[in-house]
Amino acid sequence: MRYKRPKIPSGYLFVLPTLILFCVFLYGPVCFAFFVSLSSIQTLQHWNFVGLRNFEEMISDAVFWVSLRNTIVLAAINIVGILTISLFIALGFNRILRGRGVFQTVYYVPAVASIVVAAILWSWIYFPQYGILNIVFGALRLPTIDWLGDPSIALYSLAWVSVWKDMGLFSIVYLAGLQAIPEPFYDAAKIDGANSWQTLRSVTLPLLKPTIMFIVVMVASWAIPEIALPYQMTHGGPVYSTTTLMLYIFLHGFQAWRLGYASAMSFALVAIALIFAYIQWRVFKTEILY
């Protein structure tokens, strides 16, 4: 017998490279993040332990609170917008027989484009004087709007771009949920004389609960660390009205080189994510019954 049993089971060897990478790039950094947030870093060689000073500064930083609010608003608009619009698109998909595949492909297209491409395209569309949106508004005799320059509107303009980008993708998720609903439920509603609105409210939506939960989790986890749209379209302005927390972290950490402070703020971002998770758990905690 030339076959020799290896000393280390292959199982360990096969997983080892992955584990090493995870230790270096994920487990390590998670622990390290806390340490960084307690430090002041001038250069790599020059670290100072400053205790909770970064967190104290954060609490008294007015822009931090504004960006916190913007992040929450942006995530909330994304969740509500995508949940409703995608549902109607999916109901449309579900109704038609011919051409469904083509429509699904078309609606998915914005999701595969880079967020930078989407941001640049919509910057032009929103452009106040010559942008297509205001040209259309002008033609319809509607007042033209400074979509990205008006502090009370800019955040909503940005939110629309990410809703536009992802709503097709989530309508496909919805469609999968819709098609998993057994036909007899609808037959029963029909026999009871429910109109289509009642059927939607009392049959479709309750049975879509797992799908809705999935979508809320996904949208929230993408929207909370949003940075590319405000970075590219508004640079956080006007007057911080579109500064998201992630953008503020980026500006502090990588442009002002205040990595300790930026790291402290990323814990605030974690807190937001946890709060969203908690709200979602409260809203959906009733059991899913089929």
């Binding site: 995870f22 993040a33 880079s114 930078v116 491409v117 395209l121 940075i227 590319a228 990595l259």
Partner: protein, 277 residues
């Protein structure tokens, strides 16, 4: 009664098609306009819906007057390295965690799955400090390092491998194959759908990646496409719309092609995992 019902249904069907077409226009119009603008000599914002004179001037300028070709190469390298490494490591780990028995295997599965809960923004700064410490900023290696393996891909491969009958492995063992040979010669060839899925996902996510390249790469010759495009738009803005739209178009073609070609893998996979594509 029956005919009325059908008629009523027809009307709503027409209305549904109408609305869906309207939505489709909303989805595609920005891209249509991007391509039209890129094909014209233009220094203005809005030049109409139909191209007046078609020219490839902007595309030639992209190659000649900007570092576009470097950005393209960097992006392709970034994608190639991460795809290759994800495939190899996910196949290895997926194989071990689905088909081999060893002590602590379930604990390892837990350790790997738990990384999916670590938010990227929390580890961003420590990862950057690490890359900085290793002197890997402004390099494709530094760019790829944190993304060499994604737990999602291991999870996908493992789930897929669980559905392949174990008898195949035993047949291989009887013939004297090592575990590695069983993986490469018997199991991996059967994993084509999940390999396609991992490849497509990784490609789309890395090609469109924004924040990490923005941080790690500061030398404009080392930019990836998204960052190059972003910097060009910030620097030139209105003065060079045709050029920016040409580069945006080129940046968009890759993901679009991959999406159209591998759509069936993607949609299925997205429903499974919800990775952003």
């Amino acid at each position: 009664m029956k005919s009325i019902h059908i008629k009523g249904h027809r009307i709503t069907a027409t209305g549904t098609y109408g609305l869906l077409i309207l939505g489709a226009v909303l989805m595609l119009f920005p891209f249509y306009w991007m391509v039209v603008t890129s094909l014209q000599f233009t220094h203005s914002y809005f030049t109409g819906l139909v191209p007046s004179e078609v020219t490839l001037y902007n595309y030639l300028t992209a190659f000649k007057a900007t570092s576009f070709s470097l950005w393209l190469v960097n992006t392709m390298l970034y994608c190639a390295i991460t795809i290759l490494s994800n495939l190899v490591l996910a196949l290895l780990a997926g194989y071990a965690l689905s088909r081999l028995r060893f002590r602590g295997r379930d604990r390892l599965v837990f350790l790997i799955v738990i990384t999916m809960l670590i938010p990227g923004f929390l580890v961003l700064i420590p990862q950057y400090l690490l890359i900085l410490y290793l002197g890997l900023t402004n390099s494709v290696l530094g760019l790829s390092a944190p993304y060499l393996i994604d737990a999602f891909n291991i999870f996908l491969v493992r789930q897929y491998m669980l559905s392949i009958p174990k008898d195949l492995d035993d047949a291989g063992r009887v013939d004297g194959c090592s575990e590695f040979q069983i993986l490469t010669k018997i199991i991996a060839p059967l994993c084509k759908p999940v390999i396609m899925l991992v490849t497509t996902f990784t490609f789309l996510v890395r090609w469109n990646d924004f924040l990490w390249p923005l941080i790690v790469v500061t030398n404009s010759d080392r930019y990836v496409l998204t960052i190059g495009l972003s910097s060009l738009d910030t620097a030139r803005g209105a003065s060079d719309m045709g050029l920016i739209m040409a580069i945006a178009t080129l940046c968009f073609i890759g993901p679009l092609l991959v999406f159209v070609l591998f759509q069936r893998y993607l949609v299925k996979g997205m429903l499974l995992t919800g990775i952003k594509a």
